[in-house]
Structures are given as structure tokens and as C-alpha cells.
């Protein structure tokens, strides 16, 4: 449910960046989502398809959401472990089965880059 506000934020950043770089049409956007984030890619895509209609430069944009591993440490036995895939529920310690684990990394959600067609871009410099 809270994906709506993060997707609004994704759209705001993309429109901002596209305008800044003089881009008329964005082909795709690469995002990275930590394995322990509570945001669900399907919900982000669902909202994005609705929100993008308000912005001509995003009309044909696809989101590519890549899940990045997250690291945890078990508060019961101290074991450090990684999760490669999106964890829909709580991380569970593979060593002792405890659910009382501390998430060290993998809660972030970043926009990495956008792919644009060279012909659609004005001559402005890109960073």
C-alpha cells in the first residue's frame, strides 16, 4: 500500500532528471531494491503504470527493479547471513532458526540510471 508514495517519488525524480537533461522520452529505468525492503516490485510497477500517464516523457518507460542482497546478524546466535532474494516476511536465521535478527544492509531503494534514446536527447551535457 505504501508503494504509492514511493512510486510518486520515483516519478518526481525521473521527471526532474529528464527535464534537467533535456530528455523527451525515457526508455527504461534501473532501480535497486534491498532484499529486506518492505516495498514490493509488483506494486511499484502497478502504480507506475498509472502515474506515468501524466508525464509524456514517461509514457513508454519500463521499470527494471533489481533485488540486491541484504545482510543480517542473528541476535540470538550471532551468525551473519545474506539474503539474495526479496524477503516477503521476516528474515530467519539459517543457523538457529531465530526471527530476532538485525538487518545490517538491504533496506534501501535506489534509482540507479535511466536509459534514453540518443535521438530523444537534446545536446545538453549529462552527468
Amino acid at each position: 500500500m505504501h508503494e504509492l508514495s514511493v512510486t510518486q517519488e520515483i516519478v518526481r525524480i525521473l521527471v526532474d532528471e529528464a527535464e534537467r537533461h533535456g530528455v523527451k522520452s525515457v526508455d527504461s529505468v534501473k532501480l535497486s531494491l534491498g532484499a529486506f525492503s518492505t516495498f514490493q516490485p509488483y506494486a511499484v510497477n502497478f502504480y507506475f503504470d498509472i502515474l506515468k500517464k501524466d508525464h509524456p516523457m514517461l509514457k513508454n518507460t519500463r521499470l527494471e527493479i533489481e533485488v540486491r542482497p541484504g545482510e543480517c546478524v542473528c541476535r540470538e546466535c550471532g551468525k551473519r547471513f545474506f539474503s539474495e532474494s526479496l524477503t516477503q516476511s521476516l528474515p530467519v536465521c539459517p543457523n538457529c532458526g531465530s526471527i530476532f535478527v538485525e538487518i545490517l544492509s538491504g533496506r534501501d531503494f535506489k534509482i540507479l540510471y535511466m536509459e534514453v534514446n540518443d535521438e530523444d536527447k537534446n545536446s545538453k551535457e549529462c552527468s
Binding site: 500500500m1 517519488e9 541476535r75 535506489k110 534509482i111 540507479l112 540510471y113 536509459e115 540518443d118
Partner: protein
């Protein structure tokens, strides 16, 4: 062609949260984020805190509601500044709170109680720039909530068990709750509250008072 962006999706929220936090610190105002499920008693506790503290401290309230203004109307009757936010969202974000702070004279307030939207998931994800987080948790919700919503309970500065007078009617194991939260959170304080027991709000009020004094002391304004 690739254009690098490298921005956190929550960057704007986090930046605004820092602005809000700085405002609270600069004015020596204790901004308190009051979170919990719908119906756990957030408005009731806020109302009792206001009644108990308003003669000694200058209190303001920010009401974040999904719809309606009933809570704000109720709290305004105590003659304190109340800002109602019609958030139409499952949580408050830093922008909402920032806009509410623009309608309050923080210099003239000691404590601002911010009632978040009733929800144990989303409010834990979005920093609003508060200085203290109270998580309310009512007895009828059952004693498994810290395990089901670990992020919320891991962030709490204090957990207030509300509707504690209903304890005899529910299978609610206080010891289990305390243990579960302790595994997620090393620093929380635990309070019990019932509207029917006027002394119970005093302990929460004392906790807010000591945090307010700590804040003001750290800036040497008292």
C-alpha cells in the same frame, strides 16, 4: 544512452525529515511520533496527556488522519493548537509534517504530539523528523504483534500497552511481549495505560517531561 541518477527513492523524505528534526531541536520542542494500529487508543492517550500536562507545558498536536476531522475537533476543545492533516495515505511523511510545522509557532511550544496514521507497517518506513517515537499497542490486538511487525517495535523509544484494564479478558502474555520487544530493541521503555486509571497517564507524562527537559538541557535554554 545511460544517464546516471543514483538517488535514494526516500531521499527527499529523509532530507525533509532532517529539516523538521533540526527545527524541533533549535526551538527546544519535543516532537513526538505517536504510532500504533487503528483503534489502539492513540487519540485517547494524546487527549489524556494533553489534560495531564497542559497546565505546565505548552502542547501542540498534529493529527494525521486518513479521512475526517473528528480527532482534531476533539483535541481543539482543550484550547491548544491542533493542525489536522488530511493525508489520504497510509502513513505520515516528512513533507506532511513539515507543512504542519509551518502552521505552528514552535518557539511557543514545548511538546508537539504527532498522531500518525493507524498502521503498524508504513509509518515505520518513513522518517518524519521526530525526536521521540511512542508505539502504542493495545491488549485486544494479541501478544504476537512485535514478532509480526518487527520494524515498528525495533524503532520505538517507548511502547505503551494500552487498554490494559482489558487484560483479564484476553489471553495476553505481558512477559512474552516484553521479551519479544527486548529481542528487537535494546533501549525501549515500557508503560501501561488505561483511560480508567488516571495514574497510568502520569507515568507516560513523566517520561515525556524528562525527555523534554533532557532536550532543553542539551541546548542550555532552561
Amino acid at each position: 544512452m545511460k544517464i546516471k541518477i543514483l538517488k535514494s527513492v526516500l531521499e527527499q523524505n529523509d532530507n525533509q525529515a532532517q529539516i523538521n528534526r533540526k527545527k524541533f531541536k533549535q526551538t527546544g520542542t519535543l516532537g513526538v511520533n505517536v504510532m500504533g494500529s487503528p483503534g489502539c487508543g492513540k487519540t485517547t492517550l494524546i487527549e489524556e496527556i494533553v489534560k495531564s500536562m497542559k497546565d505546565k507545558y505548552r502542547i501542540g498536536v498534529i493529527e494525521g488522519d486518513y479521512a475526517g476531522t473528528v480527532d482534531a475537533e476533539k483535541l481543539s476543545s482543550y484550547g491548544i493548537p491542533v493542525v489536522q492533516l488530511d493525508v489520504s495515505s497510509c502513513h505520515l511523511n516528512a513533507d506532511f509534517v513539515g507543512s504542519a510545522l509551518n502552521h505552528m509557532s514552535l518557539d511557543e511550544l514545548d511538546i508537539v504530539l504527532i498522531e500518525n496514521v493507524g498502521n503498524l507497517i508504513c509509518p515505520a518506513e518513513f522518517d518524519i523528523g521526530d525526536l521521540l517515537k511512542l508505539v502504542l499497542y493495545s491488549v485486544p490486538e494479541g501478544d504476537d504483534k512485535p514478532i509480526k511487525y518487527p520494524l515498528m517495535f525495533s524503532q520505538a523509544d517507548a511502547v505503551v500497552l494500552t487498554k490494559i484494564d482489558l487484560l483479564p479478558h484476553f489471553e495476553f502474555n505481558k512477559k512474552k511481549v516484553k521479551e519479544s520487544i527486548s529481542r528487537l530493541n535494546k533501549k525501549f521503555e515500557l508503560f501501561e495505560f488505561s483511560k480508567k486509571d488516571p495514574t497510568s497517564v502520569k507515568l507516560v507524562a513523566n517520561y515525556l517531561e524528562s525527555n523534554f527537559r533532557k532536550l532543553v538541557r542539551s541546548y542550555g535554554d532552561l
